[in-house]
Symmetry: C2
Subunit: 344 residues, 2 copies
């Protein structure tokens, strides 16, 4: 007899969020944007909004302490949150950090975690203003919330792209996912033969992208200086494909993405081939790249092209045309798909 209850694993992350949040109606005039973008938007003063975002990192779901050093973990926990503030074109200013830890962790271990948090706070000029510290029956959980500000006329939502605009991405993609695959492979080898040393040197770049991601704060300054304002922006935490579909859905536009334009470093491609993986698939669905994906009116091309860290990877089309990838080899037009929720 089938159960009358629905397994979470059958629902998918975005359907789950929709199902849980649909009954909530905003009541306060200070709530400008609620659920559904990288960060929530709250009224601040006559010229600025406050931005707020939150994320949770759970041991053995989001990180594996076998190979993730606690200092790196602390650093990354901050980065993934302030990335959401930058994705709204905001300036991150404060964070809170709550941790739930089992008794297997020593004071010294937690101090190492907080060294990483402090390092990220210094690097990205944010203040740790609060948090909660509690016991857990098992493992380590970290919940970070970030607060930032943005000028009202500079805010970038994911819902305001127009058809016939450029689609741009910062940095390079696919590496963080491949770093994770390498670390998992070497962990398995080590568990099977604990005398063998892990082979990590030749994959240093992809491993660093996984363990110690950095985010691009430089682009914001460049765009301010050159008066470039993205029509929509989002960070790539769930993979390029999924984030493009978010922009498509929120902005009611179609997407044309060119495989040959997706920025993937040679070292990333080499690691992918070593693992018998398709580099494009890693960039499209791997996630955790923490790069910025944004749309620009075509006339901004002359301004953005001098910035070395941005690649134009496609353009928006009308919603009725749908979302497609044009493949490099055969110039086939194939539908873009989002990868499902892989945690369960």
């Amino acid at each position: 007899m089938p159960s009358k209850f629905t397994k979470i694993s059958d629902v998918g992350e975005f359907s789950l969020i929709h199902s849980l949040s649909q009954k909530f109606k905003n009541k306060n005039p200070s709530t400008i944007v609620g659920i559904g973008d990288d960060a929530a938007v709250i009224a601040k003063d006559t010229t600025h909004y406050t931005l707020m975002t939150t994320d949770m990192l759970i041991e053995n779901i989001h990180f594996d302490l076998t190979y993730c050093p606690l200092k790196h973990l602390g650093y990354k926990a901050v980065v993934v949150n302030i990335s959401d503030i930058l994705a709204m074109n905001g300036t991150p200013e404060q964070i809170t950090v709550s941790i739930a830890v089992s008794s297997k962790f020593s004071l010294e271990a937690l101090q190492t975690l907080y060294e990483g948090i402090a390092l990220a706070c210094t690097h990205y000029q944010v203040d740790l203003i609060g948090g909660d510290t509690t016991a857990a029956t098992q493992g380590l959980s970290i919940a970070v919330s970030a607060i930032g500000t943005v000028k009202k006329n500079s805010i970038c939502k994911r819902s305001t792209a127009q058809p016939q605009e450029l689609i741009c991405v910062t940095g390079d993609l696919g590496a963080a996912y491949l770093g994770l695959q390498i670390l998992n492979r070497e962990k398995k080898v080590f568990l099977a033969h604990d005398t063998m040393q892990p082979v990590l040197e030749e994959h240093q770049y992809v491993i660093e992208r996984q363990l110690k991601p950095e985010i691009n704060t430089d682009l914001q300054k460049f765009m301010q200086k050159h008066q470039i304002l993205p029509s929509a922006m989002i960070d790539i935490s769930d993979g390029l494909s999924s984030e493009l579909l978010h922009i498509s859905q929120a902005s009611r536009v179609g997407i044309l993405l060119y495989e040959e334009k997706i920025p993937i470093l040679l070292t990333t491609k080499k690691t992918a081939l070593d693992l018998h993986l398709d580099p494009t698939i890693c960039a499209l669905h791997g996630g955790e790249d923490y790069e910025l994906l944004f749309t620009l009116p075509q006339e901004a091309y002359e301004k953005i092209k001098i910035y070395p860290g941005v690649t134009v990877i496609g353009h928006t089309v009308s919603q009725s045309e749908g979302c497609h990838l044009i493949t490099s080899a055969s110039h086939q037009k194939i539908p873009l798909k989002a990868q499902g929720w892989v945690h369960y």
Copy 2:
């Protein structure tokens, strides 16, 4: 040979927070108050501050789903956070809720949890503006952050009490802790003899205080109307004694607390006696009462005395006089102590 690592259980919650946070220095001018009060304080506009607070609730540490219904849990998760905003004399306006859940929870279970969250949002007029939903290897964890606003000239910190002021508390104390003891007792009986029905009716009040706490929003309106401003305020989440010592330490004042004045309902006393517990000890150290504890200049007494939900329980003295409880029976003066961290 003793370990060179320090167990968290040997440190204590407040020493742990101090140890982890001491290296952080605030860098942004918008950070007004960081770690160390009920909520952090951030610059908003010329007349208001933004308040922010965060809490984590972990299954089998903070709640037991054997007797805590998911709807009540959702409600309580909101209440414990907005209580911190009220403790700064602020108005809660937005919350974010992140959950980490193992696959044992169904979609319907999570919907029930969110029904409780929605009920609290409606009751306390706050908007759910974001969050995170993730898998966990075990159990349920809930992280809530709350945002509020407060007029600059109305903010109540815990650091601004003066000697020779009244110490006041809202509502009644000790009940939430006793509710938890009853629920734990009946759970044990049920586990040993699963045909026996739990005896809960006669302890309904204390159980409700544990499972479905409400906070006093009415006092704030009364005080605004009568132009009463507490010199310091804090919420009683960790027990009266611990919170009085927080005010003492932050404000550099001593405390004189009268046992006979501590508001404990008869029904609470009766439950305490049934369990062979001292009602005063429950009020002093039990915690989770979510009442407001505040200090007032003596001249405000005439104004506050007409408000039925407030009791004057003592007064502040100079710091050098220390913190003491005057017992009811023998009028002995005994030092106030904080209960340690009981999670581990």
